[in-house]
């Protein structure tokens, strides 16, 4: 599915300083029943965000209007657990384009890159600085520059570089996905397949 190109993002951020945020928290299994990719953002962090009677939980960050923006900042080991791409869809559909953490689970990271969310892995120290900047000023802005692979706390000018492989970077910057690439390789794949023993 096509997604918007990602080049430079300057935005405020929403802090979620919890470790091991698993994909069952990002979107519980009972909300995976759709056959279309629509509306998953409504159930993002459903059980942290809403009470059993569907009233918002006042103490959850997404229900606090002072925090907003296109960047979600999570604690260590963000996105562990299930392979459900719905978790990445929910984050994207809610309006986030970038998730920052000191560590990401593999499948979540791959899913995010595949649908146009940029996972930015920073050092634990820089993550703390980001949380502190948001705590000091919820309107603090951050700049994520994909071309330069750099994230900056605008108010302090502190920045850190992040890793992404060249292929995925090119895709993100142009809104390309892997299926286009693979479709162009079909002859090569056919030859490979013919040699398989299974």
């Amino acid at each position: 599915m096509a997604y918007d190109k990602f080049t430079l993002l300057r935005s405020t951020a929403v802090p979620l300083p919890i470790e091991n945020v698993d994909t069952d928290q990002i979107i519980p299994a009972r909300f995976l029943k759709a056959t279309k990719r629509e509306g998953f953002g409504d159930n993002l962090f459903r059980d942290w965000r809403y009470n059993g009677d569907n009233t918002p939980k006042a103490d959850f960050v997404l229900n606090n209007p002072i925090y907003k923006g296109k960047i979600l900042v999570g604690g260590h080991n963000f996105g562990s657990g299930s392979s459900r791409e719905h978790a990445a869809w929910a984050i994207y559909d809610y309006g986030f384009r970038c998730v920052v953490s000191s560590f990401f689970a593999d499948i979540f990271k791959g899913n995010s890159l595949n649908i146009g969310i940029l996972p930015v892995q920073v050092s634990p120290e820089f993550l703390d600085q980001i949380f502190q900047a948001i705590e000091a000023d919820p309107d603090a802005e951050f700049e994520v520059n994909l071309e330069k692979q750099k994230i900056t706390i605008v108010s302090t000018g502190e920045s850190e570089s992040f890793d992404i492989n060249g292929y995925k970077k090119h895709n993100m910057m142009n809104g390309f996905d892997d299926i286009d690439y693979l479709q162009a390789m079909k002859v090569e794949i056919k030859q490979f397949e013919a040699e398989r023993i299974y």
Partner: protein
């Protein structure tokens, strides 16, 4: 390459690379693709919107499991959303010529139970599915891992995905396991040592006496849980135990094809001197029956131990406190004797015949505790039939347990099998995340023996006292 000492993982991975992209992932060929009703519909929609088809439908297998009821499977599925997903799987499979074992089919069951028991899963294969517990199939010396829906679409349309090659880890468990210590305890022990993110970025090979002596079903339990320490997958070198398990299964190679396959499979092991990026060795004697006390699978310990303090565990205090508060537990408490409300035996982790045999070994001659609601859910119809044939159903019935029909059930509680808020469930499944088994549900992960001991006593009990 031939003179170089290679790992099992390298041998299988390198044999499946169609193209290496500079500063990018490998284009990685997939031998077997499993699909189910939850993570495939959007992938099929993607094919339609791009106007592309399924390249090799014979390499994909569909089974319904995540969303299926575990009672009255002959009736129409009541939840319209679930029914819609099941219908989509059926329609899409039919449209593209994919073999489909839907609800009611004699070979239906949980995808990671069905693949191996029908001989679809074989050594040296690459296997993916839109489900993180696809790592189960690594028990056969396959590279098997979970993928997202975008990747499901890639496999359907090109039989390939784009994957950077993970780093390599070996986990050795040496010595002999004690009484009442099962493969589930081995994996919960390893995860408790490595933590829930300890193997992220790695593919694991399990080695050592304990795995060499383990049955295929035990190996599947261990490989299944690899993802719970962050590893994309785990694998065990195929050996005589593997070959004996596969031989004669429905879709396994036969005759001359068997001989050719066997010769290849025998080459699938890590060469002497091959190097891993990380290696751990544990002593089997240190492992006792395990139970989890927190909200990720790394938060487990020997059943006789007290809950650790936040100073004794890795990670931040606030996250730890939040976890214990969710569970309604406190630091330094004993796990033994804690009252429980539900027991769930089943899932792709522990839903095979050996698991029900183990469960029955403790239940036999005893009665289900009055305070416990138990859900006994076979992993497949074939397992269900075995339970009946072996007389296990009689033991269960005598003890006050009912057998349900196959499916993922309370492992992820997508169907009606939900643990109510605040209730405690001893569960043989794989995840104790907040709300995993239903909103507010509190999960204690354990082996079938620990689950059985809890089911008959109504409290967390050391199964060794009942064996």
């Amino acid at each position: 390459m031939s003179n170089q000492a290679n790992t099992l993982f390298d041998k299988v991975w390198d044999a499946h690379v169609v193209r290496k992209i500079e500063d990018g992932p490998d284009v990685f060929f997939i031998d077997r693709h499993f699909i189910h009703e939850v993570t495939s519909p959007v992938a099929f929609l993607g094919l339609e919107s791009r106007k592309i088809g399924v390249m090799y439908p014979e390499r994909t297998f569909a089974t319904a499991d995540h969303n299926t009821p575990t009672i009255n499977q002959h009736l129409p599925v009541a939840d319209p959303l679930s029914a819609n997903q099941l219908k989509a799987l059926e329609t899409n499979s039919l449209k593209y010529g994919i073999s489909h074992w839907g609800l009611g089919h004699a070979r239906n069951g949980i995808v990671h139970v069905v693949g191996p028991e029908n001989g679809i899963t074989l050594p040296g294969m690459t296997i993916v599915c839109g489900d993180s517990h696809t790592s189960t199939h690594g028990a056969f010396g396959a590279i098997a891992f979970g993928i997202g829906t975008s990747e499901v679409e890639m496999v359907l349309s090109s039989q390939c995905i784009m994957q950077p090659k993970p780093k390599k880890m070996r986990v050795n468990v040496v010595g002999e396991l004690g009484k009442g210590v099962t493969p589930k305890d081995v994996t919960l022990y390893i995860i408790s040592k490595l933590t829930t993110a300890g193997a992220t970025g790695y593919f694991v090979e399990y080695a050592g006496d304990v795995f060499e002596q383990m049955s295929m079903e035990g190996r599947m339990t261990v490989c299944n849980m690899s993802i719970e320490m962050g590893a994309r997958g785990g694998m065990i070198a195929p050996d005589e135990t593997t070959f004996a398990y596969i031989n004669g299964r429905d879709q396994a190679p036969k005759g001359e094809k068997w001989d050719t396959a066997l010769a290849y499979w025998k080459t699938l092991k890590t060469d002497e001197g091959a190097v891993f990026d990380k290696e751990y060795t544990f002593d089997a004697a240190d492992i006792e029956p395990m139970i989890t006390y927190g909200t990720n699978p790394g938060m487990g310990q020997g059943i006789s131990r007290n809950i650790p303090t936040s100073e004794q565990v890795e990670g931040g205090k606030s996250t730890y406190d939040k976890s214990l508060a969710y569970m309604g537990f406190h630091e330094n408490e004993s796990m033994l004797g804690k009252q429980i409300d539900y027991v769930f035996i089943g899932s792709c982790t522990n839903g095979r015949i050996e698991d029900f045999r183990a469960f029955a070994s403790i239940v036999k001659g005893r009665k289900k505790a009055d305070n416990v609601t138990a859900w006994v859910v076979p992993g497949s119809h074939i397992v269900e039939a075995q339970i009946r044939e072996e007389g296990i159903l009689d033991i269960l019935t005598e003890a006050g347990f009912e057998l349900r029909q196959p499916g993922c059930s309370a492992c992820l509680a997508m169907n009606d099998d939900k643990i109510p808020a605040g209730k405690y469930a001893v569960s043989t499944s794989n995840r104790n995340f907040e709300g995993r088994q239903g909103p507010g549900a509190r999960t204690l992960l354990a082996s079938p023996l620990v689950a059985a001991a809890a089911a008959v006593t109504g409290v967390v009990t050391d199964p060794r006292d009942l064996l």
